[in-house]
């Protein structure tokens, strides 16, 4: 069932409010919703919420034989399927345009931008490598699922610890977490994704972190993934109203500042959670 487009009063009200510089939930145009990160009992289990949009991710690792063309690298696969639990507009088995975009963007941000150091996932070249599996479950969609999903994925990878492995000759011993402390993954960088919605009426400024109504009525979405070191990973703009180069540069600058703040926040939350767990006995 295609999602019904918003009613006429909602459309009229949104545009008249935006013309007056007001957003529906009282935020500034370039303000995101509050981010909350909850860590689960296992390592690599993270629930991320951006306001009312909630996503749950989990990282799993197992040892497999690598493909013959790349014997020195491990690999990572991402599984995400939007079910009607997130919203009554999603259907199982029939990916909507939005779902396809989220899957592709997640692939670009986490796999193709080389977040995880794949060579460090190699145990015994040609025979045993780690296969990381990132499972994403969308619990509730209240706009901007994409940013939430990317954030949850990165935080889960940072939170996860894989078991320690000892290789003696051809023998591979996996030490259980009770015996030797598990090791964090080796990540090259941490990209964060920011989505801006802009509207067909070009006099309205773009809006960061659109909620559900703003997302439905947008005249185009632009998503920027970058890390705290001001390195751009992905810039995606699929269709929509054309933007001036000056506007895009402004948007990128805003995203760069937000990425730094978000990185600091994520690090502090991870630190807090780490202190609460008993993984190592020194």
């Amino acid at each position: 069932m295609r999602p019904p487009s918003p009613s006429i009063p909602e459309k009229d009200f949104l545009f008249s409010a935006l013309k007056q510089g007001l957003r529906l939930d009282g935020r500034e145009f370039l303000e995101t919703r509050p981010v909350t990160l909850t860590f689960g009992p296992e390592l690599g289990w993270v629930e991320c919420s951006l306001g009312k949009t909630r996503v749950l991710t989990q990282v799993d690792a197992k040892m497999v034989k690598p493909p013959p063309e790349r014997p020195f690298e491990g690999f990572i696969t991402i599984h995400s399927e939007l079910s009607p639990m997130a919203s009554s507009e999603f259907e199982l088995g029939r990916p909507s345009e939005e779902e396809v975009m989220i899957t592709r963007m997640l692939d670009k941000v986490i796999r193709r931008s080389d977040v995880v150091d794949k060579e460090s996932l190699c145990i015994l070249s040609g025979q045993r490598v780690w296969h990381l599996r990132l499972n994403v479950h969308c619990l509730s969609d209240s706009g901007n699922l994409l940013d939430c999903v990317c954030l949850a994925g990165i935080v889960a990878l940072k939170h996860f610890r894989r078991p320690d492995v000892e290789v003696v000759g051809e023998d591979v011993t996996v030490h259980p977490p009770t015996f030797r402390a598990p090791i964090p993954l080796s990540l090259h960088h941490n990209p964060y994704c920011f989505t801006f919605a802009f509207f067909s009426d070009t006099s309205l400024n773009p809006v960061l972190d659109p909620n559900l109504l703003e997302q439905r009525l947008n005249g185009g979405l632009i998503s920027i993934a970058l890390n705290a070191q001001r390195e751009l990973c992905v810039v995606q703009k699929s269709g929509g109203v054309p933007l001036e180069p000056g506007d895009i540069l402004k948007i990128v600058n805003v995203a760069a500042v937000k990425a730094k703040d978000l990185d600091a926040f994520v690090e502090s939350r991870l630190q807090e959670d780490w202190e609460g767990r008993k993984i190592e006995i020194r």
Partner: protein, 233 residues
Amino acid sequence: MSIVLPGERVPAQHVNLKLGPGLLQASNVSSSTNRTSPSIFATRAGSLNHSANGSKWWVENNARRYVPAAQESVIGVVVQKQGEGFRVDIGSAHSANLDGLAFEGATKRNKPNLKVGSLIYARVSLAHKDMEPELECFDAQSRKAEGFGELKGGFLVRCSLRLCRQLLDPKHFLLPLLGSLFPLEIAVGLNGRLWINSQDAKCIIAIARAIEAADPDAQGMGEDDVRTLLEHP
């Protein structure tokens, strides 16, 4: 007041027993024994309530997806013009049908001209679980509009089903509080949608935020918290 799960038997017995939402009577065809009390089952998870004399029983729960029931007022969005009537989305599994003649003073020559995307306030006249629900835009007894019909301007807010039921209770604090602070026009749909209209956009946004804050699904703020939220935006 106990909590029941779907499938549990409920000890409801009365001469004039009326079952409200969430309870179903199982029809037992037993040849040997003559059962005096038919078995009543709960179909939803929630708290079991009954009236003082035990004649009315129902299950109170909170949900976000609407299941249509007859005689409930709902807010719908017109999706399509279909023949003589309209197809309206009310948030249920199937779209509802609204006949073109189901308005006050409508004749074959004089039918209302609703555009796709307009909001209407209607009453569910027919709702069975296997059929598409049907809507009417007039009151059942008086055949007059009584507030039903097209809603122009304003804004639509979505909320949980329990908040809609609470807002219809005259003893709830939220609507009198909002009415004392802003000039307000509101239509409550039992399908989790509220239509609000006020003098300008700032007031409407403040009202929408207050409603979302008082929603038991989200924060469930009490009266004092909502008042502080409204006075210090």
